[in-house]
């Protein structure tokens, strides 16, 4: 579902954030990218839909090449990649429904969408996505009136509205208190099991990663330091990912 080969990302001025990553994610996997902050998790995820431009390497998602794609092909590729962000990244002044409708922008005709008009079918899909995260009753509210946990659920609904093949979630629970972590991770897990969507979620918390992942990919210094099932994450593996306890 996701093929990454030789991916390297150098951020200005000269920080090597991702340093030669090869990874194949199979359909239906729940991959957790585990690592300390600064290990390159965020840059890796953002390179998968080219929010960050890779310096070298190859990325293909759901059969479409992301690297080397022209603007039109890139948009078509992005359409099938939902993304959930640590800071939710909602438009604060816009309504919850409008935020979710943004997930349909890759599908609807440009001109009417610029005037704020969406086909009825796309509105239905947006509402359906909101229902899935349990927030249909808040559709008309302004996004910034919601709690953090609710805002992240709107973020997930926006990704779902894309009808994506893959969802990337960058530290989706890092801005939330622990009680909400289980809530958000549970929703992501149910999307994975019920819809069969492929998920790649970055996490810096070991316990959370082990509880939800079907596969752990450990990042350290921009490289893959471990790749295997949660059961294989032994204390030496933890050391290899996080470094020895000082």
């Amino acid at each position: 579902m996701i093929e990454v080969a030789g991916l390297r990302v150098v951020l200005p001025p000269a920080v090597v954030a991702v340093d030669g990553v090869d990874l194949v994610v199979r359909p239906g996997e729940f991959v957790v990218i585990l690592g300390r902050s600064g290990a390159g998790k965020t840059t890796f995820l953002r390179a998968l839909n080219r929010l960050v431009e890779p310096t070298a390497g190859f990325v293909r998602v759901a059969g479409r090449a992301v690297t080397g794609a022209d603007p039109v092909a890139l948009r078509a590729a992005r359409r099938q990649i939902g993304m959930v962000f640590q800071q939710f990244n909602l438009v604060r002044r816009a309504s919850v429904l409008d935020n979710v409708l943004a997930g349909r922008l890759g599908y609807v005709p440009t001109l009417p969408s610029l005037l704020g008009r969406f086909p009825a079918r796309d509105r239905d899909l947006a509402l359906e996505a909101l229902t899935q995260v349990g927030l249909a009753h808040l559709a008309g509210r302004r996004a910034d009136t919601l709690s953090g946990g609710e805002q992240q659920r709107v973020g997930i609904a926006r990704a779902l509205a894309q009808a994506p093949a893959v969802i990337l979630a960058d530290e989706p629970t890092a801005s939330l208190d622990p009680a909400l972590t289980a809530d958000i991770m549970g929703i992501l897990k149910s999307i994975n099991t019920e819809r069969g969507l492929t998920l790649v979620v970055s996490q810096h918390q070991l316990e959370t990663a082990l509880a939800y992942a079907s596969r752990i990919v450990g990042f350290r210094g921009g490289r893959v330091a471990f790749d295997g099932p949660p059961a294989a994450v032994t204390p030496p593996v933890v050391d290899a990912i996080y470094g020895p306890v000082r």
């Binding site: 839909n49 929010l51 099938q80 943004a102």
Partner: protein, 246 residues
Amino acid sequence: MRRAALFVGLCVLAWLVWDTGADPVRLARGVPWILDFLRRMVPPDLAVLPATLLGALKTVEIALLGTAVAAVLALPLGFVSARNVAPPPVFYPARVVLNLFRSVDTLVYALIFVAAVGLGPFPGVLAVIAYTTTSLAKLYSEAIEGIDPGPVDAVTATGATRLQVLRYGVLPQVLPLFLSYVLYRLETNIRAATVLGFVGAGGIGFYLQTYLRMIDYPAASTALLVTVVMVMVVDAVSSQLRARLV
């Protein structure tokens, strides 16, 4: 170091006083004249009230029409002058154009347009447009540069086009600010439009200047009072509206 700076500062100040011929004694000698001027202004001549009210209305019209047209014209200019939206080859020339037009005041534009299209409110409208478009574009572009990049990332990630990203990621963040700037410019334009009449560009200023030239101080005082009330009313209404936006 600090003493030297103080000394230099005092020297510059002394030179400024000398070169501008600033003389407290001359001001003191002028006080009786000012008092005489004020004494002659009361009571105001209410016979010219209808004429001055119409003049004030024209001034408001000039400011309203000029500001409204400028608010729209400034939109594309604001976006192409924003560092985080426009590519450098567009951004830099746009900035130069903005700073060029902004360095000339509305009054100077009025002189030019009066020469070009003749006397009356129309050159006043054109002058307001010329100055306000670029000054608003500058304010717009600064608002755009100050946005939260998160929602822009999120909308980009859905596969939206550049225009859709502007419409759904940027515009909702900046629109309330834009409206607030437009109202603020409207307030300052009312004041600017008052003076426009002095150079023949219509409105209350034309009456004020005419009465002063005819040494008809009671009539001038009516025009002045009407101006004060007009500015206060517009300021009050506008600041009420602005308070609701933020």
